[in-house]
């Protein structure tokens, strides 16, 4: 009896080990194939850079707006210095009133199925994108028509000079080959050709040999979609050429790989209510105003009195830069916004404004009001939490007491009109500046919860939107930050105390040259590959 039963177990174990053996054979086969791939991998680029677009690789639904659509082409694009250069368009013209935009298209651009790219494809793309109810915001576009096969005319609802940046992000899809499965199997006229997409796993691209521009040197690209931890595991086995990472994982060293940190405009800062509490509420009933932060001396003192370099060291492990605006180093950045860390100056500002610590409890008072307020941050984000806590610590030296609270976004939505919030922005267009500081947005949404309103700034921004000269526009955006008398920067009204720009971190194989990187916007992964067609292997 016992023997029979034992026999049964032994039998089962034998079967399992047989299965193990045959898997072993499969294992060898795969291993040798992998080493083949490794030899060839000089030509195949493997990257792990985060998450795939849920709607597929379809520009109509927003694919390619972070970086470059790779598979499709855009009418214009931004170069390394964030200047607008032509891509599908050979030239463009904007009328004086800023309402009619005409683009002339090149005639040597073809989709990878051989069909030529024409104005009709452009019209098709923009009309569908407008109707798609996605993150592609074309509300400013009134109409778009093809004047002839290679000329497109946009008509805007009102002048908006920043529209060109939106055009630079919109890939063009083929009218003749578009249906609702396009995102799973797209064709385009871009530098790379779509080969295969295994959802949730990998995207395979090949260089487009018929590309009208410079054909990429890297011929085959595999992009893997995995979590950061899984990417670290893969990097360890040497299978990745590029692996995206975060500061907390950078202590590991990988053989043959170096850590690259790119400059970004992925910023974090504190928005502080600029109006006092007068009993007003938003239309949903949320209280507006904060009696402490509405005092401009408090805000300016914080901006001068917080050591941003220290924050970068302590909170970001050195992987970041101090930030003084929402658009540091962009072409529309006013360098006068930069302030030096000056604790004495900060204290002086508070003293002059009447914030004195009369009772010696470490907190200044003015007219029976303690210099204390709360900074809220999105719970679960360790960087925001770190920055808020760091600010709170540093503020003690100024005699300001800051409470720090981590909440969920829907809670923040209710409290952001009366408390300071640690938020992050960073886009490659000055439209963001408009949305953040414009009077029409105050108290409405999370763009301007601090209720900031400055008519002079509004005027500069409106003018910047209506002007058709991009240099003039940049000057006007700069004036909005500081024109010598007033503005949105620390020198002016200081509604925001911007803190840091977070570097984006990637492990890159030593044999890979990823070219010069543009300043990355908010959003970690895809911006790295916007210049993928310039990458090459270093021999």
């Amino acid at each position: 009896m016992k023997k029979n039963f034992l026999g049964l177990i032994v039998f089962v174990l034998m079967i399992l080990s047989l299965a193990g053996c045959s898997k072993g054979n499969g294992n060898e086969v795969v291993e040798s194939k992998e080493s083949e791939v490794n030899e060839e991998s000089e030509k195949v680029l493997t990257m792990a850079i985060g998450s795939e677009p849920d709607q597929g690789f379809d520009p109509v639904y927003g694919w390619g707006r972070y970086g470059s659509p790779l598979i499709q082409s855009t009418l214009v694009e931004t170069n390394v210095d964030m200047e607008i250069v032509n891509d599908l368009a050979t030239s463009y013209n904007i009328t004086e009133d800023g309402l009619t935009w005409t683009f002339n298209l090149r005639q040597d651009a073809y989709f990878t199925d051989g069909e030529q790219v024409t104005a009709h494809d452009v019209v098709f793309t923009y009309e569908n994108a407008k109707a798609s109810n996605s993150i592609v915001d074309l509300t400013i576009m009134d109409s778009i028509v093809a004047i002839d096969d290679f000329t497109v005319e946009f008509k805007l609802v009102k002048p908006e000079s920043t529209f060109i940046y939106s055009i630079a992000k919109t890939g063009i899809v083929p009218e003749h080959k578009y249906d609702d499965t396009y995102g799973d199997n797209p064709i385009g006229s871009g530098p790379f050709k779509f080969v295969q997409w295994d959802k949730g796993q990998q995207l395979i691209l090949e260089a487009n040999e018929e590309y009208y521009g410079k054909v990429p040197e890297i011929k085959k690209v595999v992009i893997l979609f995995m979590t950061e931890d899984a990417a670290m595991v893969a990097a360890k086995t040497g299978q990745l050429d590029v692996a995206m990472t975060v500061p907390s994982l950078t202590t590991v060293e990988f053989e043959g790989m170096t850590l690259l940190n790119t400059d970004t405009v992925d910023n974090r800062g504190i928005t502080l209510p600029v109006v006092p509490n007068e009993g007003l509420t938003t239309k949903e009933g949320y209280q507006i105003g904060n009696d402490v932060t509405s005092d401009i001396s408090i805000r300016k003192a914080l901006s001068y009195g917080l050591n941003r370099e220290q924050m970068v060291e302590d909170v970001l492990n050195g992987y970041g830069k101090p930030a003084y605006t929402e658009c540091d180093n962009m072409p529309w950045f006013n360098e006068e916004s930069i302030v030096n860390y000056d604790l004495d100056k900060a204290k002086g500002i508070l003293d002059e404004a009447g914030w004195i610590d009369a009772n010696n409890d470490g907190i200044r008072e003015k007219a029976n009001l303690n210099a204390e307020f709360t900074i809220i941050y999105a719970a679960g984000d360790s960087v925001r939490q770190g920055l808020a806590l760091n600010a709170s610590e540093q503020a003690k030296e100024l005699g300001i007491s800051i409470q720090v609270e981590g909440l969920s976004w829907d809670e923040i939505d209710k409290r952001m009109f009366r408390d300071a919030v640690l938020m992050g922005w960073g886009d490659q267009t000055p439209m963001e500046t408009y949305l953040l500081y414009n009077t029409s947005n105050k108290g409405v949404d999370y763009y301007n919860p601090e209720n900031y309103s400055n008519v002079i700034v509004d005027n500069y921004m409106e003018e910047a939107l209506t002007t058709t000269d991009s240099d003039k526009a940049n000057e006007l955006w700069k004036k909005a930050q500081w024109d010598g008398t007033t503005g949105t920067s620390t020198l002016g009204d200081a509604p925001w105390v911007w803190l840091v720009n977070i570097d984006h971190l990637y492990y890159i194989k030593d044999s890979l040259d990823v070219g010069e990187q543009k300043i990355h916007p908010h959003g970690h992964a895809w911006p790295l590959v916007s210049n993928l067609r310039d990458w090459k292997w270093i021999k």
């Binding site: 009896m1 039963f5 177990i9 089962v12 898997k23 499969g26 294992n27 795969v30 194939k33 992998e34 195949v44 493997t46 849920d54 709607q55 597929g56 639904y61 707006r65 798609s132 109810n133 996605s134 993150i135 915001d137 074309l138 509300t139 400013i140 609702d180 499965t181 995102g183 295969q196 295994d198 959802k199 949730g200 796993q201 990998q202 395979i204 085959k220 595999v222 893997l224 979590t227 931890d229 899984a230 595991v233 893969a234 086995t237 299978q239 992925d266 976004w409 829907d410 809670e411 992050g424 886009d427 267009t429 439209m431 963001e432 949305l435 409405v444 949404d445 916007p521 908010h522 959003g523």
Partner: protein
């Protein structure tokens, strides 16, 4: 005829169950504080207020909750599961895309953990209190208390990184186009996730079977059989009495296996339904969330139903009870 009535009865029960599940899920999802638009748009994307409102309109957020449920229920009755707001495709096609590999993983886990767990349970019960039993029991209890993803990461670190025996994840080799992938590679990639899930689910059925085995071995009729010198007590008595509870438990833990597969999929970057339903839930994508929930509810119900049918097939007493009584 009687058996037909039985099946019809169960079918009606299933429909009622699904309706209730839908109502509860919908109510919970719609009342959750998640702002789906914020999740969808992400941060740092500049959108005008107009566009935001247009998206809200598209997502149906401007209708009242009752209206939204009515619209959805009406569509479902016509077999239209609606369109996923995150994926912008029909819910059915999203589910079809993602379900295949999940299913493969889950069915393998189900069978392997069932078979091995049952055998282990029998062994532990028979050799109760021996060294073997003590060791196996400790292992079982340990694994049942261990989180799935931790076991997964452990497997990954040992077998993929240190020993380089298995791939680090995914369901097909990196960089290979679909036509080049063969069946063996698919199985090869599924092994670690299956082992992970199996290790975590074996204890459940093993420990249950163990206690049932002990019960049977202590019963009067087994005592009598031993006294008579019967040779194959295990096969004649124990198995016949323990296999039905084992099947019931195994089929009942179907939903747990599904939950476990979510975690395993995450660790191994294995594509599947588990991560999809998490995305749907966190993203406020109600059509997709409800679609998957219904499918799972149907599966669990069918699982239990099959368990019942098997029990009836194997045990005439149960058959009579269910159909006549």
């Amino acid at each position: 005829m009687k058996i037909f009535n039985y099946i019809m009865n169960n079918f009606i029960k299933m429909i009622v169950l699904i309706i209730l599940v839908c109502i509860v899920t919908f109510t919970l999802a719609v009342n959750s504080p998640i702002d789906p638009i914020r999740q969808y748009v992400g941060s740092g994307v500049t959108l005008s207020v107009e566009q935001r409102e247009s998206i809200e309109e598209y997502w149906g957020l401007n209708d009242t909750k009752l209206e939204r449920f009515q619209k959805w229920a009406y569509n479902i009755m016509h077999g239209d599961f609606g369109e996923s707001l995150i994926y912008r495709k029909s819910v059915m096609s999203v589910i079809k895309d993602k379900a295949m590999s999940s299913l493969f993983l889950m069915i393998c886990t189900f069978i392997v953990s069932g078979a091995v767990g049952y055998l282990l349970g029998l062994i532990m019960g028979k050799y109760r209190d021996s060294i073997l039993d003590k060791i196996l029991k400790t292992i079982c209890v340990t694994f049942s208390a261990t989180p799935t993803f931790w076991v997964g990461i452990l497997m990954l670190m040992i077998f993929s990184v240190k020993l380089n025996l298995f791939p680090i994840g995914f369901s097909i080799p990196i960089g290979k186009t679909m036509e080049d992938v063969n069946f063996y590679e698919k199985v090869y990639h599924a092994i670690l996730p299956i082992i992970t899930l199996t290790l975590v689910f074996i204890p459940n059925i093993a420990l249950h079977t163990r206690s049932k085995t002990i019960d049977v071995l202590q019963s009067d009729f087994v005592l009598f059989a031993t006294a008579r010198g019967e040779k194959s007590i295990m096969i004649n008595h124990v198995i016949k009495n323990t296999v039905i509870p084992a099947i019931t438990i195994q089929f009942g833990s179907f939903s747990e296996i599904f939950g476990g597969s979510v975690l395993a999929e995450n660790v191994f970057s294995y594509p599947g339904l588990g991560s999809t339903i998490v995305d749907a839930g966190l993203g406020g994508d109600i059509p997709l969330l409800l679609g998957i929930t219904i499918i799972i509810a149907i599966f669990v119900f069918i699982g239990n139903f099959i368990a019942d049918m098997l029990c009836m097939a194997m045990n005439p007493m149960v058959r009579e009870e269910n159909i006549i009584g």
